[in-house]
Point group: C2
Chain length 347, copies 2
């Protein structure tokens, strides 16, 4: 199996290095042969080539069996709304070109971290949510621009029936293997694209009579996720709503630093932490690498079908937490300071 | 002063009746004369006239000094994505026609309710946020429709510089009277309308050198609101992001049932709970009327300039809570069942 390592920007470099080490360890322990290559994306790619996703990187992605990805972004562009070339363009292009229409974000709390969240432990206990975020449509990829002499800016949100069906089907299939509950999130009381979304999910529901479906408006979901997180099993939603809700839901898991994601679709799968490039802590060895390690676990499971290997990785993370080791983001006032480790040490 | 009561749908009826009683009490106590009229909106208006905002209602709104509003919505339409006439159209038309471009949502926790939230008390303590949600632009009011033979649905998000300036200015002005911190929320790493938003806020910031401005992406804000709610003072954001974030932030206040909002702009101000029509509990006398009562307090303060009267209402709510009275939504396992009251009794 050939794995492409794409660290990207900021702490993407540090955490992906740990993820790769874990893959190496798995290869050795379970007698697999993994080969690796590296590719550029984001700000580092712009600096090196002027292009946030160089053709060479894309080619390498297409020719690998899976991609372990880090993060993209740089504060330089954030504060310059008129920048024409941006790191995020590389990420969006990668998603579109590889046909990565389904972004899976499992939100599950390790028992040991029940106290690390800002939400009360009794509210969190038992929470286990699998998000399906649509990843190649919506307002991310519609036409956008300026008009009225630059006085007005616009972005078009768009969904076709086919786009909703394919992500919907993945979510229904997953619900079947879990607790058989699906929440579909939209804003159908206001948006036409949400009404089409709801129509298609309603049609699919007829094919999955064993799955109980609930329709929620995105504002209600944002509230219920905090009030009653155990109410959710599988959640399916559009690109923008998924972006917002999964970052919010990261608080259920105690920290963004614990959350992995899998982007899958027509070809090579891409595995990445849901956290960003975090330039404020870059290069300090403070980043929590567990999201990248757990992304490697998803890679083993989903792209390579290596269930046992994947579970070995998750169990290793669990052991590290059980022994009391923490990174800064998941430590609290009761943590013994000598148990708070840096990126490499905890890796 | 002439006040128009617009209860709308579901529990809107029950809670607005309590809000009106409080206004009556204030008039008696402080020697004011308030006159009242009623008007229809939403599902009840559709049932009576076929129109979610009859011309007569709009006329009455324009001719009153303030509107006390309830909620709109009905499950019947939610599950029928193809319905042409919907209660929410009445609400959106009211906002547009009255020029209500600024929706103020104060999120403040009454001390007595520190335990009612799903968020840990030590995280919540001291949280006090004032949201400015833009209310007459964005994807709510852009062109929307179907194309490709109905196979694709689209919604256009749009902002003009002027629209951003006028809400931005209100938020900066408010920050000046508070802790002088403003967070502007957008998705400028992806959306063109967000980039224009950020440009305009950056320009305004030059006029308010005494206000400290932070720019956040909406996904990050959704996370930080739960992780560190005390980090926020004033927040300004677009219509859709504001819809999602303020519902989420309601959990800081323990319950949606405690949160009031003021919609202001070019003419008559509209005051309303942020909760919806809640048909599941309609007619049962279970609804928490405090959001409507606190909306009446905002009405007295903002539309009538009656600060003392407004504070008397807020202090009355505080006294009720201090005495231990609760509605169901803000009660918890420790609440004495005999202190849990219905809508009228707590009113
Ligand atoms: C960096 C940004 C463009 C991206 C997104 O909004 O999709 C990120 O927030 C994510 O969730 O992967
Ligand atoms: C009912 C709905 C159209 C409305 C909105 O999205 O604005 C509501 O959620 C609100 O926040 O007032």
């Amino acid at each position: 199996k050939h794995i492409l390592i794409v660290p990207g920007d900021g702490i993407g470099q540090e955490v992906t290095a740990v993820g790769k080490k874990v893959l190496d360890k798995i290869a050795a322990r379970f007698n697999h042969e993994f080969t690796y290559d590296e590719a550029l994306i984001g700000h580092v790619a712009i600096e090196a080539t002027g292009d946030p996703l160089p053709a060479e990187s894309l080619e390498k992605m297409k020719n690998s069996d899976a991609v372990l990805f880090g993060a993209v972004g740089h504060p330089k562009y954030d504060n310059d709304p008129s920048a024409k070339v941006r790191p995020e363009q590389g990420l969006l292009k990668m998603r579109k070109e590889l046909g990565l229409y389904a972004n899976l974000r499992p939100i599950k709390l390790f028992d040991e971290l029940l106290g690390a969240s800002s939400i009360k432990p009794e509210i969190l206990k038992g929470a286990d949510i699998l998000f399906f975020r649509e990843l190649t449509g919506d307002i991310y990829f519609g036409e956008k621009g300026r008009k009225n002499n630059g006085d007005t800016a616009y972005d078009v949100a768009e969904y076709s029936r086919y786009e909703v069906q394919r992500i919907g089907r993945k979510a229904f299939d997953a619900a079947r293997t879990r607790r058989k509950k699906l929440v579909s999130v939209d804003k159908a009381n206001v948006l036409e694209s949400s009404r089409l979304w709801r129509e298609e999910i309603q049609k699919l529901a007829l094919e999955y009579p064993d799955v109980e479906v609930e329709y929620q408006f995105v504002d209600a979901t944002a509230m219920i996720l905090i009030k009653e997180p155990t109410r959710f099993d599988v959640v399916v939603t559009a690109n923008l709503f998924g972006d917002i809700l999964t970052d919010e839901a990261s608080q259920i898991a105690g920290s963004m630093g614990m959350l992995a994601s899998a982007s899958i679709g027509d070809g090579t799968g891409v595995y990445e932490p849901i956290h960003g490039s975090a330039h404020d802590i870059t290069g300090k060895g403070l980043a929590n690498p567990m999201a990248s390690v757990l992304s490697a676990a998803l890679l083993l499971d989903i792209s390579f079908g290596l269930k046992e290997e994947s579970e070995a990785v998750i169990s290793a993370v669990d052991q590290v937490l059980k022994k009391g080791y923490r990174t800064r983001d998941i430590a609290n006032a009761d943590t013994d300071p000598s148990m708070i480790l840096g990126t490499d040490a905890i890796g």
